[in-house]
Symmetry: C2
Subunit: 389 residues, 2 copies
């Protein structure tokens, strides 16, 4: 029996939705038609030009190690994307290509947080951020946020909660699980405040491109020294290719590159060549079409949920999630999720996966499935709730 | 100017060969014909059946996230490989598919080494191991090994150097940079001793398959609780695909899977489907042909180096490296490597990249290039040494 285990490993938590997913698969293997509204990845296949670029790279034998920071062409293409999308000058030496945004988050926290230090972040938030910091024997300082702040940290909250061991602040805009954006004037005020406090601001911009109103600004527009994390997974629809990036000051990139060299050797080569094609006009046209589909789903799902008695206290600006308040329907969203799965064959993620603050009120619905499936889920819930009234 | 930097990040070292590589590229851009004997990756392209499997996976849309531990088919195929290659029963639940062996090493150390603990390993050895442990605020305990032990730890050395903070022992068989194997009776004695001492044994078997005499045994044959690290990079020639694996007791795999879920989400999907084809008979036939080519190169290079005045105190059993003693030719192998590059346009790796113990005597020659290139390097050195005599 294996019994050795570091404190670090013991502290890491798995996602609560994993058990639920396992049960969903069991139900499916028994023939049940489960509607998946729990998944954090787009249901669209890899865009044709991206897939073809990957195949061309394989045929050309581009399958050896690359520089740890990524192939120069991709670093240049990413820098160029900031020019065309945000009208912002980014030098390719500020770009580090990473194995997913996961790799970028690990490197950024590893560079910025010493043992015992903390990064401030909103509760609710993406669960892995807390685990990255635990892995590094640093910590996450969760600050409760609710509908009043649209689930985002503010300059006032940061000032109020700053402590001597706080190394910096992590924002996510749009956020997972709420889809809300940090407004530009808040972004500016936060960047200034964190700088005054001697900390470092990291902004997770993973869902950029997937916004349904005004485009999101990048935090680099208000402060060139912010660390920005992004990914080819969401807007560019390349989840399984495991490719992300990080923008930071050149001296910081050098330090993280040194760590990346040792920890990862390099990001997957074929994925890097595939990603080059993601910036082509034909690819971007496909992504824009998908963005519109997501917007339609968001509107349909939010309206449907509201009509069933859920509250959606902050209309999501982006990403593909609705963080719905189920407190009119249940006083325990975790059990509610389980019963939705068992009784109605609908898989959703409980608020408990995203933090502690009022987590038992909330459920995250992902609209990473088509309108037909979303409608099916809404109908099943309508039937359930009318029966229990 | 970016000035924040954790102690952890400051402690991580980059490879010394990197500056040398940069200079080699400069020379090449000036038209110099540099012979590369420094590279740690096979020069052979991805085997055709593996490349075709990758392309088929892309066309079939297999590009979404996978389970953190890898697709079940691949875990089964890897387990099956232990049956056919080593006549050993491994349960697929003991297999964790990782982003390269790098991912496996990070997870294993993270599970086994608490802050302040150390892992014992031979000096010389693969440099990243020390950096993984530093990254985790644990440490590497380097034990000097020389020709007498064929650069490998022994049961006696382990007993002698064991300390209260030692969490375990890492062996590499065949080793990088020396290519030597741990003999079966030593492997058994070491496994027993480490168990008695309450530590955990990790064995890096990355170069398995690339041996030039008897096949290497897997450490699992002497102790089913050993952690074994392996990779698709070397024998299977899939470096840029970033895929490795780890065999460990099921309870340990569960703990590491939980960490992998948070740190990596999953290994690259297309790489996993490609790797399935690596176990097919037609692929294995290709790899066997390449193994024979490596053997021929080894014999040619070792003989050539000896005739030039290098000593090769331990004939490499495997991998694609010769760890040559250059002390008859120089008293500083680091400067020697630089002058070989500048004057003879030959790139090799200085001993200093692999540890401190007598590192200034040694140079690592990789035979990851064809016989024609190896001969060219030998001729250039012959000219140099005859001129200076």
């Amino acid at each position: 029996m294996f019994t050795k285990c570091s404190q670090r490993a013991a502290n890491i938590e798995s996602f609560k939705v994993m058990d639920l997913l396992k049960r969903a698969r069991e139900l499916e293997s028994q023939g049940c038609d489960v509607v998946h509204l729990e998944v954090g990845e787009p249901d669209f296949a890899t865009a044709e030009p991206v897939a073809e670029a990957a195949i061309a790279a394989i045929r050309a034998g581009r399958t050896q190690y690359t520089p740890a920071a990524g192939i120069p062409e991709l670093r240049e293409a990413i820098a160029g994307y900031y020019q065309t999308r945000y009208d912002l000058n980014v030098d390719p030496v500020q770009v580090l290509v990473t194995p997913g945004a996961s790799g970028a988050l690990l490197l950024a926290f590893a560079l910025l947080a010493d043992t015992g230090q903390t990064f401030m972040m909103s509760d609710p938030g993406y669960p892995c951020n807390r685990q990255f910091l635990r892995f590094l024997q640093a910590g996450a300082q969760l600050v409760p946020t609710g509908p009043a702040e649209r689930f985002q940290l503010t300059e006032a909250l940061i000032s109020e909660h700053w402590q001597s061991q706080t190394a910096g602040v992590l924002l996510a805009s749009p956020s997972n699980p709420t889809g809300t954006l940090v407004p530009p004037e808040q972004m500016q005020a936060i960047a200034q405040r964190v700088r005054q406090l001697g900390g470092q601001l990291i902004v997770d911009e993973l869902y950029h491109g997937l916004t349904y109103g005004a485009d999101a600004m990048t935090a680099l527009q208000v402060d060139p020294d912010v660390f920005v994390i992004n990914s080819f997974s969401k807007y560019f629809g390349m989840t399984g290719w495991r490719l992300g990036w990080l923008i930071a000051p050149p001296e910081a990139i050098k330090m993280m590159e040194k760590m990346a060299q040792n920890l990862f050797i390099s990001p997957t080569t074929v994925s890097q060549y595939a990603a080059l094609a993601a910036f082509q006009p034909d690819s971007l046209a496909i992504f824009e079409g998908r963005r519109q589909a997501f917007e339609e789903r968001r509107n349909f799902l939010v309206q449907g949920l509201k009509s069933l008695g859920f509250a959606v206290p902050a209309m999501p600006d982006g990403a593909f999630y609705v963080y719905a308040d189920a407190s009119h329907l249940t006083d325990d969203s975790f059990n509610f999720c389980w019963s939705l799965l068992e009784e109605n064959h609908i898989a959703v993620t409980p608020g408990a996966d995203f933090g502690q603050f009022e987590a038992s009120r909330y459920v995250r619905f992902s609209y990473t499935t088509g309108l037909v499936q979303i409608e099916k889920a809404l109908q099943r819930m309508a039937k359930r709730f009318s029966a229990t009234r």
